[in-house]
Amino acid sequence: MTVGTGNPPSESALFWTAISKSFVYSLLVCLGVIVLYPLLWMAASGFKTNTQIFNAPFAIPLSWSLENYIGAWNEGVRSFLVSSLIVTATSAFCTVMISAWTAYGLTRTRMPCKPLITGFILGGLMLSPTVALIPLVRMMQSVGLYNTHWALILLYTAFRIPFTTFLIRAYMLELPSDLDEAARMDGATEGQIFWHIMLPLCRPIIVSSVILHILFAWNEYLFAMIFTNAQEVQTLPVGLTSLMAKHGTDYAQVFAAMTISALPIVLLFFAMQRYFVRGLTEGIGK
């Protein structure tokens, strides 16, 4: 081992290091402001009145009363939130589990015609939801699932499986085959290999997939608008539009409702962002 015996950095080098660091920190602060400011502005607008929102949209609220937040909660946001949670959580679980199994089959087994099957599944990415809308409505009506949470759960799962499979498959291709081969030689079944070896190893991409699915299902509007009628089964994106009256919209209450609806998703992202970034950067390469 050698010990550095060089001269201390010159003043000029220190100066440029400080400048570059300042530049990087400034850039990061700016990026942080760009990301956080709209969220904070939305939350703050929930404490204002219509007049304040239109006349001084960027000013700090004059009072911090929770009246608008409570009003929004009682105007139906509570019901929309519950529906969103049910639909999002169930469809996320179904999507990720089915996709992980599919990806496992496509990457770790000796299935015939794998490229064809992979192409078939990924081909689902090209199916536009809008084009499929009318046959899907007929289908849901005929099986009695129209205007139920299950309609949305099934649709969200079906339409997200191709993309989620694509992500998990790419991640699994990166994993060494020695591990599952060793397990197979030890007599482990495919199910045991999947549950006890592959799934734990795929934790980052699983978390990423869950977050991506949640972002999709939480904000999805078209299916939610078409496939639900009753307020009890409507999710947040559709429910929030009902707060927007043709005349005399209480924008402060709308902002409060939007903040309530965005809060779970923002908290989830910050809590899981480590896995999210890692899963995407490691899995997206293939």
């Binding site: 009318i134 409505v137 009628n229 539009t241």
Partner: protein, 439 residues
């Protein structure tokens, strides 16, 4: 008609027409209502409303509850949509042949698409002019749902456009309520000199300019010519009144409006009026309650309105008002047409009309005597009287025209407001579009 995006409405209209055409084979022949058919007070009646907003949704829930008290064997499936979502939902339900028994409809092209596809019951035998039920409606409202000389819709409430103004500001500046367009322009000059915006105008959504144009068009172009031009097959758009009306609108914009209207939303414009930052705002009667109330700077006692004044020498119908009713139709595929009609009769009774017209709903009932002046905003009562006495209800240009012609009006007038087109160029673009559509 929807406030948030009438352009979207026009596009949806086109899409719905396509869906209707695609499934026309599934639709049967014209179904006519039978006034003597017995009503079976049992089963489930499905209704799609446009009262899905939190503010309006209790209305239908209460009406349904009241009806069920009279007929406990009848149950309801209420599909309450908002201004925007009702378009997409309707389009999908039409295409899947699953329209509810009773469904919401606008007048104009939107409603005609249901008629053309035989999706709506011909209600002429029960609601046509001269029938007992038909006599209970404001004639102009009933007439708006007539196509091919047959009644297909039940008007529920009326809407029309008026100029709201701030009485206090007018009084402070010594301005009288204008009687002619020229007096209005002079009033604008006086208000401008005081440093205030005369009329707040937000045209980001394109339809606000269409509303001004619609009222000025009916003043300057004979009604017969307008109605001929609504149909692309007979449209000519050669009457000089078109250019005259748009020139008057440009003059109004130059002298009464400020800033860049195409960059301002209509919400911001009406808020400016409610905050007393502008002296006038051109609004629908449905907006009277929202423009001035106890929570706004402009208090109800300082709110006044007038019909957009008639220009001197106008050659059209000077007693017409721009506006249209909104209402409901009965699905031709409904298995319970007599029950649906019975419910609609209940919905359009004077008692229910009074509830609809009063606060908090504030939707002027289309039923004669369907309002209680004591329970209503005095300006709304007076506005309803003006609608009743109007010689003609000028429909919204973006719903009465073919969707492509409507789009030409919207785009052309936005360009006129932005200064990139002249009145002549706007009329030419509309004429060319109508010619292309009419073949």
């Amino acid at each position: 008609m929807n406030k948030t995006s009438k352009m979207t409405a026009a596009l949806w209209t086109g899409a719905m027409a396509l869906a209707t055409a695609q499934t026309a084979a599934a639709a049967g022949d014209l179904v006519k209502a039978n006034p003597t058919a017995p009503v079976d007070y049992s089963g489930t009646l499905s209704i799609m409303t446009k009262f899905g907003s939190q503010h309006l949704s209790p209305f239908f829930r209460d009406v349904v509850d009241d009806y069920q008290k009279l007929h406990p064997e009848v149950s309801f499936e209420l599909i309450q949509e908002t201004d925007d979502s009702v378009k997409g939902k309707t389009k999908t339900l039409v295409a899947t042949n699953s329209l509810p028994d009773i469904f919401f409809s606008w007048t104009g092209t939107w409603g005609y698409n249901f008629v053309r596809g035989n999706r709506a019951v011909d209600l002429t035998p029960v609601i046509g002019a001269g029938t007992d039920w038909g006599k209970t409606f404001t004639p102009a409202a009933l007439e708006a749902f007539v196509w091919n000389d047959r009644n297909f819709g039940v008007p529920l409430y009326l809407d029309a456009k008026f100029m709201g103004y701030n009485k206090r500001i007018f009084a402070d500046l010594g301005i009288e309520k204008p009687e002619t367009l020229e007096q209005l322009l002079a009033a604008c000059d006086t208000i401008s000199e005081s440093g205030m915006t005369p009329i707040s105008f937000g045209n980001k959504n394109a339809w606000p300019a269409v509303h001004y144009a619609g009222q000025l068009l009916v003043y300057n172009v004979p009604v017969a010519t307008l109605e001929k031009d609504f149909d692309p097959k007979t449209a000519e758009f050669t009457d000089p009144g078109y250019v005259t009306a748009l020139t008057q609108f440009s003059e109004l914009q130059n002298r009464c409006m400020r800033d860049a209207p195409n960059g301002m939303s209509y919400q911001a414009a009406i808020q400016a009026f409610s905050d007393e930052r502008s002296a006038m705002y051109y609004q629908e009667i449905l907006e009277f309650d929202g423009s001035a109330n106890d929570e706004t700077t402009l208090k109800p006692e300082n709110f006044g309105y007038f019909i957009l004044p008639v220009p001197e020498g106008a050659k059209g119908d000077t007693n017409a008002i721009e506006g249209a009713p909104e209402g409901y139709m009965v699905s031709a595929s409904s298995a319970q047409i007599p029950l649906a009609i019975d419910f609609l009769k209940f919905l359009t009774s004077q008692e229910v009309g009074k509830v609809l017209s009063a606060s908090p709903y504030g939707q002027p009932s289309a039923v004669i005597g369907g309002s209680d002046p004591d329970a209503m905003n005095a300006n709304v009562v007076a506005g309803m009287a003006d609608i009743d006495s109007a010689s003609y209800l000028m429909p919204w240009l973006d719903t009465v025209n073919h969707p492509r012609v409507a789009a030409a009006w919207l785009a052309g007038l936005q360009a006129l407001v932005g200064g990139s087109k002249s009145p002549e160029e706007v009329v030419i673009s509309v004429r060319e579009t109508a010619e292309a559509v009419g073949g």
